[in-house]
Every structure is written in structure tokens, then in C-alpha cells.
């Protein structure tokens, strides 16, 4: 029986949740801080956040030591793999992306831009993508978008492209050539099976099913990349964004790009080349030939390390606490050094940030190693 004037924990939670949704729907930049504040309060009231939660916001100034003038000398931030459901279904992932937006907005000085690493939506639905687009309007710095498979396979990218444009594009910034490469194409596995678009999306959304095809840039994508890079001098630093890692890590979970070797061959002409990818939801580093690879964190959940294929330069992130649904998640930023090499700072929530330096990868792990993990995965 309800006691007059006393609200249950559940009622209070639902009321706060409603207030959160209401504030999201009215979200403009000015209101953003308010929405993030409500979100944090709800999280804290649920006991989901450590009381000593903090976010380091001081930016190590992009180093100028190695190169002097020329390309680089700036910072950009990232948010990735937010996996939003429609807001009435799941508010936890909404709170997480709001926290990430809060993080990047609190950076001082502000990054030159914020890169979004793909998988904005969980099941590619219009309302999921619209919700994400609306929340990302709260980011103060310019936002650059990349598509992930969760955004794509319901309507084969139709709505995402209406919102954000072409899935592959390039731009130049302070002497560095940036390429955003659509790498999550899959060969048709659905027509023969008579899948509906929803079934196709649901299949791709699962990691551990053998039904779907492997990710690929594809012939057309590689041709586009070749054409784009033909115009770029081999001494220009290049940064390539792809949702899937542009190498072969673990095939069964599509931590994998089928034509990665051919893409790497196209990139091999550049003296300084960095590939930054989403999808794997973990601290992940690799170097193949001249190319440094960095994985990005997810705001929604961490993936375990795959049973085989982990690049030897990867310093694993500490095992995440299953009792803390923000642990192992986060966002981060990249310092583009003078000369165009790139350091990544993993901003793991409620943990100390971890820096994976270009010099660590270039030295094949002999110098500047990040702190080792205390608990490796099982």
C-alpha cells in the first residue's frame, strides 16, 4: 500500500528518467549542461557511480619537440560506439553518451573537432539515429561522423546518410590528411535466407554468430581510397578512420576487415600513417609496417579481449568490473604531434587515463610503454 507523500525508489527513478527524456527532447547547447546534470544525479542516486568519480580534463599540450613547425600540433577528441536504443527502451546508454558529451565539452582547451567512431544506434532505427544526432548537437566543437554496422544494416545506410552525408570522405586539417573510410560492408548473406531488414540488422548486431559475412571495404571503397590518396604527397601525414580495425584480429567476432591487407598496401606509401577504429570497445594497439593502429573505447559496454589474435603491442585495459556499468567504457582524445604522428589518450571513466604514444608503437614496444594491466582477461 502506498504511503501518502512517500515515493518509492522506483517512482523517484521513473520521475527522474522522465525529466531526463524531457530535457533531451529540448536539447540545445544551453540546455545540455542541465541534461547532463540530471543524468549524473540519477546515476548517482542509483548508486551506479563511485562517489569519487572524476574526469581529468587537463590536456597535455600537443608536443612540439619532435618536428618543430609543419603539420600537426593539435588535439581532437572522440566519442564512439554509443549503441543507442530508442529512448523509452533504454536510458542507460543515453546517460553514457551524455557523459561523453559532457567530457568533451569540458576539455580545456577545446579540441579542434570531435570524431564520432560509429555505431551511434543499436539497431539502425530512425528514432535511434535521430536521438543520437540530437544529443551530438550538444557537442561544442565541430563533430565529424563515421558510420558503423549498427547504423547501416536496417535500411542499408539510407537514414544515416540523410543525417550525416556520405559514409566515406576526406578532409585536411593543419597539414594532416584525414580519411573517413566506410569499412563495414558485408557480402549479401540475407537475400538467399529471405531475411527481413530487421532480421538482417539483428544478425549483424550480434558479434558471435557465423551467419553474417566479414566486414570489407570492398572494391569500390578501395578504388575510392586510392583515388583520394593519389592526390596526397607521400610525406603528408595521413590519419584514416574506419569502424572495423583495418587488420585481422579475430574473425569470429568480425574484429576483422577481410580486405585489410589490400587497404594496408594502399596506405603503405605514406611515411606517417595512423589508423583509428571503433567497433572493438577496448584499449587496442597495433603496428603493421609503417602504420600505427588505435582502437577507441565505447560509451555503452566494453568487449572482452578475443581468445586469439590480440596484437602483441596491445597493452590490455584492466578487466572491467561487472558491477559498475560504466567501468571499461569511456571516450578519449588524440594528440597530433608536430610531424603528424598521433598519441592516444584513453579516458576510461572513473580510472586513470592511459596514454598510448606513437613512439611506443614506432619503437616496437621498447620505449614509452603504457602502464601494464593489473588484471588481464581470463
Amino acid at each position: 500500500m502506498a504511503i501518502k507523500g512517500v515515493k518509492s525508489v522506483e517512482t523517484k527513478y521513473m520521475e527522474e528518467r522522465e525529466a531526463l527524456f524531457k530535457s533531451i527532447s529540448q536539447l540545445g547547447r544551453r540546455d545540455f549542461v542541465k541534461a547532463a546534470g540530471i543524468s549524473a544525479a540519477v546515476v548517482a542516486s542509483k548508486g551506479l557511480m563511485h562517489p569519487h568519480s572524476f574526469q581529468l580534463v587537463d590536456i597535455a599540450k600537443a608536443e612540439t619537440a619532435n618536428g618543430g613547425s609543419g603539420a600537426g600540433g593539435f588535439t581532437f577528441a572522440y566519442i564512439s560506439d554509443t549503441h543507442l536504443y530508442k529512448k523509452t527502451l533504454n536510458d542507460r546508454f543515453i546517460r553514457s553518451i551524455l557523459r561523453a558529451v559532457d567530457d568533451v565539452n569540458a576539455l580545456n582547451p577545446q579540441p579542434d573537432f570531435v570524431f564520432f567512431g560509429g555505431d551511434l544506434a543499436q539497431l539502425g532505427a530512425k528514432e535511434e539515429l535521430d536521438l543520437g544526432a540530437q544529443i551530438l548537437k550538444g557537442v561544442k566543437a565541430p563533430v565529424k561522423m563515421m558510420v558503423g554496422e549498427h547504423d547501416w544494416f536496417l535500411d542499408m545506410g539510407q537514414h544515416w546518410q540523410q543525417l550525416f552525408g556520405a559514409p566515406s570522405y576526406s578532409f585536411d586539417h593543419k597539414g594532416v590528411h584525414f580519411v573517413v573510410l566506410m569499412s563495414v560492408n558485408e557480402k549479401d548473406f540475407w537475400t538467399q535466407r529471405g531475411f527481413t531488414p530487421e532480421q538482417r540488422m539483428q544478425t549483424v548486431a550480434g558479434l558471435d554468430n557465423g551467419t553474417q559475412s566479414r566486414f570489407e571495404v570492398g572494391d569500390a571503397g578501395r578504388q575510392w581510397l586510392k583515388n583520394d590518396l593519389d592526390k596526397v604527397d607521400a610525406n603528408t601525414p595521413v590519419v584514416v578512420f574506419s569502424h572495423s580495425p583495418l587488420y585481422k584480429y579475430y574473425r569470429d567476432w568480425n574484429f576483422w576487415t577481410e580486405d585489410a591487407d589490400q587497404v594496408q598496401a594502399i596506405l603503405s606509401k605514406f611515411a606517417t600513417c595512423t589508423v583509428i577504429h571503433g567497433h572493438t570497445h577496448q584499449m587496442l594497439s597495433n603496428r603493421i609496417g609503417n602504420i600505427n593502429f588505435h582502437g577507441m573505447l565505447s560509451t555503452a559496454w566494453p568487449w572482452p579481449y578475443a581468445p586469439t589474435g590480440l596484437p602483441k603491442l596491445t597493452v590490455q585495459m584492466n578487466r572491467s568490473d561487472p558491477f559498475d556499468n560504466l567501468d571499461g567504457c569511456g571516450d578519449g582524445r588524440f594528440n597530433v604531434l608536430r610531424g603528424g604522428t598521433v598519441d592516444q589518450i584513453y579516458s576510461l571513466w572513473d580510472r586513470n587515463p592511459v596514454t598510448v604514444r606513437a613512439s611506443y608503437l614506432a619503437s616496437n614496444g621498447t620505449s614509452d610503454a603504457p602502464a601494464a594491466t593489473k588484471l588481464v582477461s581470463y
Binding site: 558479434l207 558471435d208 566494453p302 581468445p307 561487472p322
Partner: protein, 241 residues
């Protein structure tokens, strides 16, 4: 009733053979019960061995009375000796071995020569062990079907009773990072010793936002089966952190 059940089983077996496939054994809903007389002709308590056939009388003890430890040990020894006499050369481990902690066993000496069996050298026993390759296939298919049920639930937010679209596989593809081999262990966050099922239920209640399952819920059992099956060959290491 019993006869018709046998016939239907035979028909099912014939169908399996015709189809060339492997059927899934029917799951019993009740456990088999051994038929042991409550009392001997002398009115003494009768105790049955787990084979369901060997029995022994306990002199001076009436049904309803409790055995002394000595009487209990005595009747157990008599039953076991009876069974060994009926099954000469049967491979019986005298004490349970905890395989992962025990040093490798010394090579077993060759068994003494016994009477030559009529069926080509294999001991003819009524005990566990008289089964064919086809039996094994059916059992494997049954086990795999159970594991498959668990896999489906593990991947289905709806069947987990989740309310926010989150399913187990979203953080644990192929049940990775569930490490069933480390239970029981002191789960620091719970402040007590936990079994795998406690953690499954914790996940159902929290990240999945559903209602915890009863300990004997078939869905919970099926998920345990799926998770354990993914770790085949990994050494048990209870208590590991």
C-alpha cells in the same frame, strides 16, 4: 502402459535409424526411484545400493530407526563387496579423485587374468557402461540441444526477461569473460561466496534489468550449460580472481 511406452520408443528408434539422423532423448520429468523393500522377512531394515539391484539387511535395525555410524559403514561395505563380487575386474575408483589437484596417477598395473568372457573379452555388466555408439550420439545431441537452448536465451533480451534490450552476448560474445571455471569464489562486490548462477542472476537483474530466475529454473540451467560448454578443456580453478 509400460509396454506401449516401450513400443513407442522402439518406433522412435526405428524412425531415427531410417532418417539416418540422431534424435534427442526425451527429458524425464521425474527421477527414477529404486524399488527396495522396506523390511526383510525378519522385519529388519533393508538398504539398497545405487545400482538399484543389490540390497543388504541390517540385523537388529527396524525400518524408521537410524543406523549408528558403525552400522552404516558396515552395511555400505557389505553392499560394495557384493557388487564387486558380481562385477569382477570392474574399474572402480576407491576414492573420488579431484583431477585438477591430484598428481598424475601412476600407471595402473595390468589387471589379473580372469575367466575369459563369452562376448569377446569385454566384461558383461549390468552397470553403467553398456551402451553403443548410437547411444552416445543421442546423448550428445541431447546435451547439445540443451546447450543450444541456453545459447538462444543468452542472446535474447526478451527471453531473459530484460526490459532495456540488453542481452548477455552484448558483453560476453561466446560467453567470453564469464570464466565459469573460477566458481565458487568470494565475489568481493557481493560480499559473499558466489556460484556461476549467482552471477548470471546478478547480470539478469542489473545490466539486463530483468527479474532473477529461480535456482531450478530451466532457463538458468540451460544458460549454465551454454556457458560451461564454451570453456571445455579449461582447468577448473575455483576461487580464482
Amino acid at each position: 502402459m509400460r509396454i506401449s511406452r516401450k513400443i513407442s520408443l522402439a518406433a522412435a528408434a526405428a524412425a531415427i535409424l531410417t532418417a539416418g539422423g540422431v534424435a534427442v532423448a526425451q527429458n524425464r520429468t521425474t527421477n527414477p526411484v529404486h524399488d527396495v523393500p522396506a523390511a526383510s522377512a525378519n522385519g529388519n531394515l533393508v538398504v539398497g545400493l545405487c545400482d538399484g539391484k543389490t540390497t543388504a539387511e541390517v540385523p537388529g535395525v527396524k525400518p524408521g530407526q537410524t543406523l549408528t555410524p558403525k552400522q552404516a559403514q558396515d552395511v555400505s561395505d557389505r553392499l560394495m563387496n557384493d557388487w564387486k563380487a558380481k562385477n569382477p575386474g570392474a574399474n572402480w575408483d576407491d576414492a573420488p579423485k579431484v583431477a585438477q589437484n591430484a598428481p598424475p596417477p601412476p600407471a595402473r598395473p595390468a589387471p589379473p587374468e580372469g575367466p575369459v568372457a563369452s562376448n569377446g573379452g569385454k566384461q558383461e555388466a549390468h552397470t553403467y557402461g553398456s551402451y553403443t555408439k548410437r547411444d552416445e550420439e543421442i546423448w550428445k545431441a541431447s546435451t547439445d540441444a540443451f546447450i543450444e537452448q541456453g545459447r538462444q536465451i543468452f542472446h535474447d533480451a526478451g527471453r531473459l526477461g530484460g526490459t532495456i534490450g540488453v542481452s548477455c552476448d552484448m558483453c560476453h560474445p561466446n560467453a567470453a569473460n564469464t570464466h565459469p571455471e573460477t566458481y565458487p569464489k568470494y565475489q568481493v562486490q557481493l560480499g559473499r561466496v558466489a556460484m556461476l548462477r549467482d552471477m548470471i542472476n546478478w547480470c539478469i537483474e542489473n545490466p539486463v534489468r530483468g527479474k532473477p530466475l529461480a535456482d531450478d529454473d530451466p532457463k538458468l540451467k540451460a544458460m549454465e550449460a551454454y556457458i560451461l560448454a564454451q570453456r571445455k578443456g579449461v582447468a577448473l580453478e575455483y576461487g580464482k580472481h
